[in-house]
Amino acid sequence: MAQAEKLDGQSGKNPLIIVSLIVVGLIIFIFISTDRGGIESEPVDLAPQAVEKVQEQDEGVVEGQISRDDIMAPPGELARDEIRQWRAQGAPYPFDSIMAKASEFASNGSLADAHLLFFFAAREGHVDAMMMMAEMSDPTLFRADNNLLDRANAVQAYKWYKQALELGFEPARARLDNLRAWAEAESGYGNAEASHLLLNFN
């Protein structure tokens, strides 16, 4: 009770509201901070109301953690906006900025946005992005956490390593060798994906 009075005295607001806001903020963060799986529509529906409530009562509570735009945008939309703007400016694209933005999305748990930016940059010929795309899909390196994809995809890994190698990025060669070793081993077990991938090497 003494603690409540102290808080009340400092903020001039009901502490229960503040606690509620923190809880609501945390819930929103949990739902929004990662966009793996099929939950995309839920936070989009819930978020606007939650944010409005938060802002009506105390904007400061969630400020700096998560922005209104971030909450409202479906996974991938922020990246698409960025891409739209970069395309409007035309090539050559600022790949360093794109990669930095993608990494920022990734560290914030916006995996779809990160993936789309890496994909965009890789598609436009940026070797670092190609390697990033490849490693995210490489069955020998795959990690489900911090990855939009639920499972590795050897064909994607092969495609991006190969393109990086064709652009002269030599470290991709060792990765391809590794991928080939994986495919040889797995095909022995009847892994069809691995057997099909092997056709690309032989």
């Binding site: 966009d35 793996r36 799986g37 099929g38 995309e40 529509s41 479906p74 996974p75 991938g76 990246a79 698409r80 891409i83 739209r84 779809a112 946005d113 993936h115 789309l116 994909f119 965009f120 598609r123 020998t140 956490d145 939009l148 994809l149 995809n153 064909v155 994607q156 092969y158 495609k159 070793a181 994986w182 040889e184 081993a185 022995g188 077990y189 009847g190 069809a192 994906e193 099909h196 991938l197 056709l199 690309n200 032989n202």
Partner: protein, 685 residues
């Protein structure tokens, strides 16, 4: 005069082309715009110059694919390609109609049961509807052992040796197919045509490399050796008592049958790469040898010293293969007539490409190592809850590791819900019982103890069978002859595949021989495309014979869709319209595209992307039939996954197209647009 010469020239030309180039195109299949009628030749078929039996003729390679150019009474004018080259006439009775071009390829019999072929549909259908595994297993054993059985519905069995269709092209044409359920799995009953191989003239029945009958021995002298291989890493800490319980359960079960003096127990513990995690202390350590394990007190006192490591290994995988290899190699198995390794673990193994693995063996190689010594591997997989666990991968690998040809796998899993040992689980589907050949599927049970009970009982039954002189698993004879055979396994396999092929036909081990009656040239039979004892496994792949031109067309069209999808992932709003615009240019029938667009056709097939050569096949295309109307509402992840699925298929089409060594040209000659390859149905878009 000049006019006359011209006429003469024209007549001559028309006569010449009449024999070799009588028509531009083969006959179309009914209702099709681009698909031609095709037939296969049966063994001993002959291609004649004229449609009469007296005309000059030459033999046709059995199961050759021909296009039909003309029909005249009961004769077909045929050619190897669809470009107008005619090869001659063949009696219709010497052909099998094969318009859909569906064929079967068999899986390696070391990975799954050999397929039984039934002489009538009803017999198979009854087994399928009743899901009568016991009856099927009985028929299977009779067929494998080549036992003469009166009134058996089984007409033939898949060849014993594996013939890889990619290396040795063969056809097992499908004439009819029906969707059914086998247990809970969707399956297909297939009517196939095949060519018999007289099993009486072939190699003796039984698996190649399997042991000879052992020397006469009193039943009472038969002994079993059971060696436990235990994961003793830190993650097993909470379950180490459970592991001891498992060992004790097996022991007690055998003791209750009064068989203890016929069984020796051993135990090897394993951890992981000690260089990567030095605190692990050891990679493998034998706590009890089989010799020591003859004495109960000694065995359990040594087992009680088993403790989990105090430090974590590098990741969630552990080197189970090292433990098994140690148990295989460091144990004197020679004194035991039945040999078992029981692996108990909560983690997946390190495969041979894993830099932290010590054995550098694949699971398949390790299994072979055990198999060569007559050891069967059993796995008790404790599926502990952990975000880092890779249980599905581990299950797959352990099922393969514990698979015994002709019997099934010996994999058992238990869900470990928390660290308070509140457990429940289910019985692995191996369920091999009394004579090891009879498989039994137990219903789901919700106790660790029950799973253990099943495992212990089944091992006990094995021991009991052994003590009664029935060796459940043959032990290969280690003599010079076998060693010599092992030295040339590749040549042997090649020789076997030659014996088992006749032209393009794969010859089935024919079982219904009647004295004095010749074998049929060709026979029809019904089979199921799933492993009857484990319906989750495919026993065969259903394939469609595509020409290289068709595959090229498929690749080109799908690549255009992929290009749009890539852009559609970055800018979803225009994707559907772009797709519809493209459809008009790639469709076989632009007018129907316009109709489908106005009706709001939602998937690629409806939009006009479906190709005629795949549209009637018995498969559901995951790409073709997926509605794309709500593309803009899909999550980015769903869009990306769709794109990846499509791209994986395209990559396969391209790689296959470029591998000219995989293509077969009917009638011989260099690879061209009419060359064929049997593509697995589920790889179609």
């Amino acid at each position: 005069m000049i006019r006359m010469l011209c006429r003469l020239l024209l007549v001559s030309l028309s006569l010449m082309t009449g024999s070799a180039w009588s028509a531009d195109k083969p006959l179309l299949m009914e209702g099709k715009r681009t698909l031609f009628q095709r037939v296969l030749t049966v063994p001993d078929a002959r291609i004649h110059e004229q449609p009469n039996a007296q005309s000059n003729s030459q033999s046709a390679v059995p199961f050759s694919v021909y296009y039909v150019y003309q029909r005249s009474n009961d004769w077909l004018q045929v050619g190897f390609d669809s470009f107008g080259r005619i090869d001659g006439w063949i009696p219709q009775s010497s052909t099998i109609v094969w318009n859909q071009a569906l064929t079967v390829s068999f899986r390696d019999p070391q990975e799954t049961q050999r397929v039984l072929m039934f002489d009538n549909k009803d017999a198979l259908q009854k087994l399928v509807e009743d899901y009568d595994q016991e009856a099927y297993a009985r028929l299977y054993q009779q067929a494998v052992k080549n036992e003469p059985v009166k009134d058996t519905p089984v007409i033939a069995i898949q060849p014993e040796a594996h013939v890889d269709i990619r290396e040795n092209f063969y056809l097992v044409p499908i004439k009819r197919h029906e969707d059914v359920y086998l247990g809970n799995e969707q399956a297909r009953m297939l009517q196939i045509a095949s060519v018999p191989l007289d099993s009486g003239n072939g190699r003796p029945a039984g698996r190649a490399g399997a042991g000879k009958p052992r020397e006469a021995k009193e039943h009472s002298e038969y002994r079993s050796g059971i060696h436990f291989v235990i994961d003793s890493t830190v993650s097993m800490g909470p379950y180490i008592d459970r592991t001891r319980e498992a060992v004790r359960k097996v022991y007690n079960s055998i003791a209750q049958q009064g068989l203890v003096n016929k069984v020796n127990f051993g135990l090897t513990a394993y951890r992981d790469n000690v260089d990567a995690a030095p605190g692990l202390d050891y990679l493998t350590r034998t706590f009890v040898t089989l010799e020591q394990g003859a004495d109960q007190e000694r065995f359990f006192s040594l087992v009680n010293t088993l403790e989990p490591s105090e430090v974590s290994s590098r990741d969630y995988r552990e080197d189970a293969y090292a433990g098994i290899k140690a148990a295989i190699e460091n144990t004197n198995w020679a004194d035991f007539d039945a040999r078992y390794i029981v692996l108990i673990t909560d983690a997946g193994p390190r495969e041979h490409h894993d830099s932290l693995g010590a054995t550098r063996l694949s699971g398949k190689a390790l299994r072979q190592l055990a198999y060569d010594k007559g050891i069967s591997i059993w796995v008790l997989h404790l599926r502990a809850e952990s975000p880092a666990a890779d249980h599905d991968r581990a299950e797959k690998l352990y099922r393969q590791l514990s698979y015994y040809p002709g019997i099934g796998d010996f994999y058992y899993s238990v869900e470990m819900l928390d660290r308070e040992h509140e457990v429940f689980g289910n019985v692995g589907e191996a369920g091999n019982t009394i004579d090891l050949y009879q498989r039994k599927v137990s219903g789901a049970v919700n106790e660790f103890g029950t799973v253990l009970e099943v495992l212990a009982n089944q091992i006990t039954q094995q021991v009991l069978a052994t003590s009664n002189g029935v060796l459940p698993i043959p032990i290969p004879e280690q003599n010079a002859q076998v060693a010599a055979e092992e030295a040339v396994p590749q040549q042997l396999v090649q020789l076997q595949s030659k014996v088992e092929r006749l032209g393009n036909a794969l010859r089935m081990q024919y079982l219904q021989r009647e004295a004095g009656k010749p074998l049929p040239k060709v026979f029809d039979a019904w089979m199921i495309d799933r492993d009857f004892s484990d319906p989750a496994r495919s026993a065969v792949d259903v394939r469609v014979l595509l020409t290289r031109d068709q595959l090229s067309d498929l690749k080109t069209v799908m690549q255009q869709v992929l290009d749009l999808a890539e852009e559609g992932v970055l800018t979803p709003s225009g994707f559907l319209n772009d797709l519809k615009s493209l459809a008009a240019s790639v469709s076989r029938d632009p007018s129907s595209v316009a109709g489908s667009i106005s009706r709001g056709g939602g998937n690629l097939a409806e939009m006009g992307y479906m190709r005629e050569y795949i549209e009637d096949l018995p498969y559901t295309g995951e790409v073709m039939n997926l509605s794309l109307t709500s593309w803009e509402e899909w999550s980015a992840k769903e869009q990306i996954e769709f794109m990846h699925r499509l791209e994986s298929k395209i990559n396969y089409y391209q790689a296959l197209h470029d591998h000219t060594d995989l293509w077969v040209t009917p009638g011989g000659g260099p690879v061209n647009g009419n060359s064929v390859f049997p593509v697995v149905l589920n790889l179609l878009p």
